[in-house]
């Protein structure tokens, strides 16, 4: 199948306003590993016949890492710029893959006058399952032991614990919960701009602690739905040389593989 990603600028030229903006995020666009997740989700959107568009090179950072690091000035400059761009395309609904982008659009942009219906991609997929548009079978992942790591900004920050689990229950046969799950979940260690700096001195690393928990769960696959969590697990698993025993997949990849896309 030929996949063409519709750009908002091209759609506007054809006088088209797509229903959804698919907000890719910086990690989704630049991180080699996470690009695969972006592609997986884009394929699902096309598979479902979703009316969407991407900003492509017109996308820019939401300002989240700057804001969490205390640089409110830079955050607001970014945010006002993004709001202008979205206004130009009359965007009403945003699907974000990164929970940090999702959180900032949903909870913080309204303070600057940016009001949108913001949907995390796991919520979008859950809804597609609920209304029967998305049908997935558990053939591909049957027999695999799958565990899920709750991203802080999807879970605790926005109380969305069920959407990713609903999807996994359809796509997989065996799901093992981590000891610390849902609102008790342990952070991967990358939030709050930690992703972009060295950690402070301590006796271990947060990602190592969470990876240990994941490995001890005896899962074959640790599923995530956040680019930062994925980076941390990739590092964590490599760090203890367990790449052959446990794979880190994003929920979008699991669904795309289950759909054989």
């Amino acid at each position: 199948m030929e996949y063409t990603i519709p750009l908002m600028a091209d759609l506007l030229q054809q006088n088209k306003k797509p229903e959804y903006l698919f907000w890719v995020g910086c990690a989704g666009a630049f991180d080699q590993r996470y690009r695969k997740v972006t592609q997986a989700f884009a394929k699902i959107l096309i598979h479902l016949g979703t009316d969407f568009g991407c900003l492509g090179a017109e996308e820019t950072c939401t300002g989240d890492p700057a804001r969490r690091a205390g640089n409110e000035m830079l955050y607001q400059m970014q945010a006002l710029q993004v709001i202008e761009t979205l206004k130009a395309y009359d965007v009403k609904k945003i699907i974000a893959i990164c929970p940090h982008c999702f959180n900032i659009f949903k909870n913080e942009y309204p303070d600057l006058g940016g009001n949108y219906e913001v949907i995390h991609y796991t919520q979008f997929l859950r809804d597609a399952l609920d209304n029967g548009k998305l049908k997935i079978s558990s053939d591909v992942f049957s027999g695999k032991n799958v565990t899920f790591h709750d991203p802080c900004y999807l879970g605790r920050a926005n109380d969305e614990y069920e959407a990713p689990r609903t999807i996994l229950q359809k796509a997989c046969t065996q799901i093992t919960e981590l000891p610390r799950n849902k609102s008790f979940a342990l952070c991967c260690g990358a939030g709050g701009a930690q992703m972009f700096k060295e950690t402070e001195a301590g006796d271990s690393e947060v990602f190592a602690e969470r990876t240990r928990e994941v490995v001890e769960s005896k899962a074959d696959i640790v599923a995530t739905s956040c680019p930062f969590c994925m980076t941390m697990f990739t590092d964590g698993i490599k760090f203890i040389d367990k790449q052959d025993e446990i794979k880190n997949l994003d929920i979008a990849e699991i669904v795309a593989q289950a759909l054989k896309l």
């Binding site: 996949y3 890719v24 607001q76 802080c152 602690e209």
Partner: protein
């Protein structure tokens, strides 16, 4: 009559000391930043769920149940304490018994709870003294904090002993069958040998006075103890942030600056005359926080649930969310005399930042909100941490070097990494 006069004097003394403490706290809060309160209905619901039904406390089910029983016990026993104050003032005897069956139920429950609270408090003391529970330790838990905790628990223990003592001798005293009224005390009273009426009266009186005087002492010890949470936690939950945990507060003063900068007409204009000097961005010292943050610090009972779930803390970093809250309180304590005397501009050459909370602590936070989710009195630790980062970054440009690079990448190419915007379309071009 003498008894009434003595009681009145003791009560007035208690109220005077308490009012002084409360008035001081109120005046300090008035010096701090505003915290607007809206949506009373939502707040009331939050208070019922989190405070009255102890929803957060129950996240640790066993010790949670113990705490909930103590809390509910307090509410019921409070009824009896109010009655004691009326009786003491007017020389009446169990005046509220006029309420009939309602009274019987409350007093009956109070008597049962007195025993339950007594057992729970003993367990709490045992946990603190004999068991090594990690969250009761940590750099911020100085010997004085531990003494404070044990002293508060001991006072409650004595309150329950005196309450039961009072009930036991009242049971012996009363002519009517008080069995239905004091199930526990009546049972214990059965073991007491026959005493003369005078002796029974003496012991009842002794326990009555011990109990009420302990309440008065407790009430005035609280404002200077972490156990002030007895008064502050329910209102603190009522006042808690209603936004999702992921939300950080807006900074309208920054918005004004940014909008001016982005507008070509105002970007280079001089500030209008007579405009007040811009206030400090973020939090450096105690006068930069809102009165609600100070309220938080008074509601904190140092339980350490926040710190026990903090990813930075559990991997040995210096950050401890509990310490941040305790530092807010300690800094206010240190600066309060000067602030009350000289006003907001008082400067003692010290600050919350660095003298109390180090940059290293602030930068270790992942803003994962585990602490805030856990806090039984709905304190939001990450928002204070980010407010202090705001000061560091915007007033001092004191971010770690790697973060400064990240800022400049965002400024220059709109991403936290050094990649050109065109690369955002790479993924689209090899989809198959």
């Amino acid at each position: 009559m003498i008894k009434q006069i003595v009681f009145l004097l003791v009560l007035l003394l208690t109220l005077a000391v308490f009012s002084y403490s409360a008035w001081r706290i109120f005046r300090l809060m008035r010096l701090l930043k505003p915290f607007p309160i809206k949506e009373f209905g939502k707040r009331f619901r939050e208070m019922m769920v989190v405070a009255m039904f102890q929803s957060r406390i129950f996240r640790r089910p066993i010790v949670g149940l113990m705490h909930a029983l103590v809390f509910w016990g307090f509410l019921v026993i409070l009824f009896g304490s109010i009655e004691m104050i009326i009786d003491g003032l007017f020389g009446t005897e169990r005046i509220l018994s006029a309420l009939g069956p309602v009274y019987t139920v409350l007093i009956f429950t109070g008597d049962v709870f007195a025993l339950i609270v007594l057992i729970a408090i003993k367990a709490f003391l045992g946990r603190r003294i004999f068991m090594h529970i990690p969250r009761f330790y940590g750099v911020e838990m100085k010997p004085i904090s531990k003494l404070d905790a044990n002293l508060a628990l001991t006072l409650i223990l004595l309150l329950m002993v005196s309450l039961l003592g009072m009930n036991i001798f009242y049971d012996l005293m009363s002519q009517r069958t008080a069995a239905s009224c004091f199930p526990v005390s009546h049972f214990i009273a059965g073991f007491i040998p026959v005493l003369e009426t005078g002796t029974i009266h003496f012991w009842h009186e002794l326990f009555w006075w011990t109990h009420i005087v302990l309440i008065f002492i407790f009430a005035n010890y609280l404002p200077y103890s972490k156990h002030f949470h007895v008064f502050m936690s329910v209102p603190n939950v009522f006042l808690s942030r209603l936004e999702p945990l992921g939300y950080l507060s807006h900074m309208p003063n920054i918005e004004k600056e940014v909008r001016m900068m982005m507008n070509p007409e105002t970007a280079f204009a001089a500030a209008p005359e007579g405009e007040a000097a811009p206030e400090r961005f973020g939090v450096k010292d105690i006068e930069d926080v809102s009165w609600k943050t100070y309220f938080d610090s008074l509601a904190c009972t140092e339980c350490g649930r926040c710190t026990s779930v903090c990813p930075a803390n559990m991997t040995g970093k210096k950050l401890s969310p509990r310490k941040i809250i305790m530092d807010v309180r300690a800094r206010m304590k240190e600066k309060s005399n000067g602030l009350l005397k000289h006003g907001k501009t008082y400067d003692d050459q010290r600050a919350l930042l660095r003298e109390f909370i180090s940059e290293e602590e602030l930068w270790a936070c992942t803003t994962c909100n585990a602490c805030a989710r856990e806090c039984p009195v709905s304190i939001n630790h990450p928002s204070i941490i980010v407010d202090m980062r705001r000061f560091l970054v915007m007033e001092e440009a004191a971010a770690p070097a790697a973060l400064n690079s990240m800022f400049s990448y965002i400024e220059n190419n709109g991403a936290p990494w050094q990649y050109p915007a065109e690369d955002r379309e790479i993924w689209m071009n090899n989809m198959n």
